[in-house]
């Protein structure tokens, strides 16, 4: 916004300087990649503006912040989804689906400062609609609307945010979320810890094992604001300042609290004494002995809850993965209890760092939708799959990978055999064998065999006029190039046997 008056070219020049300077200073790789990605975004913007100016010609692109997935990316995505869904099912979840847009009112007032990022649909007559911002609010709407009092559900779906995302770092305006939520009355902290267990199982199954799940509790945050003398009306505003500590240093956050939000500097300093602390159950114990903090009933309740959390985390084998981080605040309005955020901690700069999952407890959200304000306590976690995919794609960039599953290719050694090829294809489709052939009437044999090798198709059937007259066809094992003659009438049976024996 501050740059609105400057030309793109000037902005690119300035950003180029920033990057050069950081490199000269041998700054951290994260800082450098962040600034490089800003530079690339500016250059892309410049390219787009140029194209648009070129005679008003239509620009061939996807909408800003969105992307296509090619077949290779789809294979990687599907493999990741399969692992994620397997984990959700291992924990007894069922799935449901909601529309991609909701009545605008459904989303209003649920996302705090982030509400400005909601995509609205044009008013074309009828209802006012918005694209879903997450899967959580529609889930709460579903529970209230269908009077569901208890469910363990998972949901995979795209959500939409009018952000200015760094696409190089796996952040988009259209992106997938994989959500797992436990709704309904429970005894304290049992499902809350299971959500962390689910996150670690998934990140482990995707070989993203170097991660930590940061936790905090809204009651501790509220209690700490109370103990530091923040007026209750300012809790949410100060909380969203604290939320910025993962990206900004304390000085900047403090300045926002005092200068922008008018907080007494002394109170801000008191907050600073707490929010920069992190630990495990040892920190919980320390704070339970802190008379100032424990002057707040809310803080004590939150700390007792985390004490129980650590005990259960030990039993579920995830304690070593958890860090109690007092600066974790999470922007969304609807959290009421524990909050989580999983971050990757490995130091491979190409894989980046940053939040890969998040969630928390939201006990009052369903009541907002219920005509009688009936509450359904909920806790859940959302896995941000785009960032994970960026890492997996990068890792597998040089691996050979099949994007089709074809088992048999029906080839002709001579001309005029199209109809025979078609009959064989139909016969193999009938018995469920994945079969292809050339769409040319008279393809060259060499080209057909090359297709098999390039596509990794394991078997080729080669037909010729004289062989057909003798009632036989050739079956070729593509990798070894070994060929054998098969009776035409036994072809289906032989293939069924070969394919069932084969490790695909």
């Amino acid at each position: 916004m501050a740059d609105a008056g400057k030309s793109i070219a000037d902005q690119i020049k300035e950003q180029g300087e920033v990057v050069r300077k950081l490199k000269a200073e041998k700054a951290g790789i994260d800082k450098i990649t962040e600034e490089v990605s800003k530079l690339l975004a500016l250059k892309a913007q410049q390219g787009t503006e140029k194209d648009e100016k070129a005679g008003g010609k239509f620009v061939l692109k996807t909408a800003k912040g969105t992307r296509d997935f090619n077949p290779r990316q789809m294979v990687i995505r599907q493999q990741a989804f399969d692992k994620i869904i397997a984990c959700f099912k291992r924990h007894g979840a069922e799935t449901l689906d909601t529309p991609v847009f909701e009545l605008k009112e459904v989303l209003t007032g649920k996302y705090g400062e982030d509400s400005k990022l909601i995509y609205d649909l044009a008013d074309q007559g009828g209802e006012l609609l918005s694209l879903r911002y997450d899967l959580t609010v529609p889930f709460a709407r579903f529970l209230a609307m269908n009077k569901v009092g208890s469910i363990k559900r998972y949901q995979l779906g795209k959500v939409y945010r009018r952000d200015n995302p760094a696409m190089t770092k796996g952040r988009f305006r259209e992106f997938f979320q994989c959500d797992f939520d436990i709704a309904g009355p429970t005894d304290p902290m049992i499902p809350d810890v299971e959500c962390v267990r689910v996150v670690t199982e998934i990140l482990d199954s995707l070989d993203l094992s170097e991660h930590v799940v940061k936790i905090n509790h809204r009651k501790i945050l509220d209690g700490l604001f109370e103990a530091c003398g923040v007026p209750e009306s300012q809790f949410r505003a100060i909380c969203s300042s604290v939320d910025k500590l993962d990206k900004s240093p304390w000085e900047d956050v403090r300045r926002e609290m005092t200068d922008e939000k008018g907080l007494d500097p002394e109170k801000a300093d008191q907050i600073g004494q707490y929010v920069l602390r992190a630990g495990q159950d040892d920190l919980v114990e320390q704070l339970l002995a802190d008379t100032k903090l424990c002057s707040s009933k809310s803080a004590v309740e939150g700390l007792e809850a985390l004490k129980l959390f650590f005990r259960y985390a030990e039993l579920y084998g995830v304690k070593k993965r958890v860090k109690f981080d007092m600066s974790l605040a999470r922007g969304l309005d609807y959290y009421t209890g524990i909050i989580y955020e999983a971050v990757l901690t490995n130091q491979n700069p190409e894989e980046g760092v940053g939040s890969i999952a998040g969630g928390g407890r939201y006990d009052n959200l369903v009541a907002l939708f219920d005509p009688k304000a009936k509450a359904v306590p909920c806790v859940g976690v959302s896995i941000g799959i785009e960032r994970i995919l960026a890492i997996l794609e990068n890792r597998e960039a040089n691996l050979k990978m099949r994007t089709v599953e074809t088992q048999v290719y029906v080839a002709a050694a001579q001309k005029n055999l199209l109809e025979d090829r078609m009959k064989i294809c139909a016969e193999l489709w009938d018995i469920g064998i994945k079969t292809e052939m050339s769409y040319k009437a008279n393809p060259k044999l060499l080209v057909q065999l090359q297709t098999c090798e390039e596509q990794g198709i394991p078997w080729a059937i080669i037909i010729g006029q004289s062989e057909l007259e003798k009632g036989v066809v050739k079956l070729r094992h593509v990798v070894s190039r070994h060929e054998e003659e098969i009776e035409r009438t036994k072809l289906a049976d032989v293939l069924k046997e070969k394919l069932s024996a084969q490790v695909v």
Copy 2:
């Protein structure tokens, strides 16, 4: 629109009369269900307006024309998707994904009269965007943008149309399409027939076997308009009138042609001589002998193409499923060759009849996106899964169906065993067994066992204090209620064995 001046109550009254009259006349079940669904829609509208008037209170609903899928519907949907995807893979297709919205320009001018049904996003600064209307146009945009000259791809995704759908008949504003397309140069009609084969394989695999695939060819339609003396500028307009013959009688369509579109009545009558005819390759032969029609080069080309089509359809074993229907026109602008539409023909009124898949050849669409107007010939088909789901849901309405896959439930026979249950769950999750337990600290044994029976969970582990001290647990087979004692240390191995032996 004509009813805009009437109150909803009046409209309901009138529509009620229409339904009563039809029933008294013993009109066709299709006509009755259609009018009943209009009545229901009016009543729903009335309900909504009442709610909205009730103190401006927020209405708890999904957006008009959209719906949630509950876990049971999701199981049915996933089973159908699995069969559809299996067929697409059997034919060698790979998959890709595109964003749910596109630049508005991408969709402009592709859908003829239906363009008014496109959802636009609000202009919140930045690009003008629209929700995708189908998967075909984004696919063509993808091919041009990535310079893909040849691909066989499938795609499952939601599309959006601001229609006034009869939701009772499985028509929605947000709905899934399952598309299969073959792009790239081929010899004539080979992939075109494979698309029909794909449709019949899918409808057969879903036990929707009573169906017919109607075909026609744009060149035959154009040739017939030419032969009947329609000016070329009116081809598309007259074509969309013909397209209405599946819903309206010839008289109404003729009136639209003459009164609304200004066609010479004599020419309309000539068109009527052709478009009401249907048959198979016999009709193709008859028309090839029709000197008037064959005065059009376009008609001859189209007829020769269908002749080849029927020959290949025979080889692919689908000829008996195909009907050459000269009234089939399909509204979309982009078709250039063969067009298809699959309809269910069974007479179970609850399952309804109507279009369940559609498609055709579109050889010029990709060129519209390519900066050098390079064409990529394409042919494809789109399966309309919502209607299929409505049928399957109706069929399975009374079947017991599991929506979770939990294999083992860890139960306690006494109080104070929460931590032991948690440890066992963690152990079983570690080895990939789908395991649940109660979220209560001290649940009643009976309630826990009831959960197992209600949810169809096959195995329960029951722990007790004295057993744990002896180093054993009880393993209960839920259906038979047979129980055996297992050494605690061998629990994981025993379960792995039981579960691998089990037919799930």
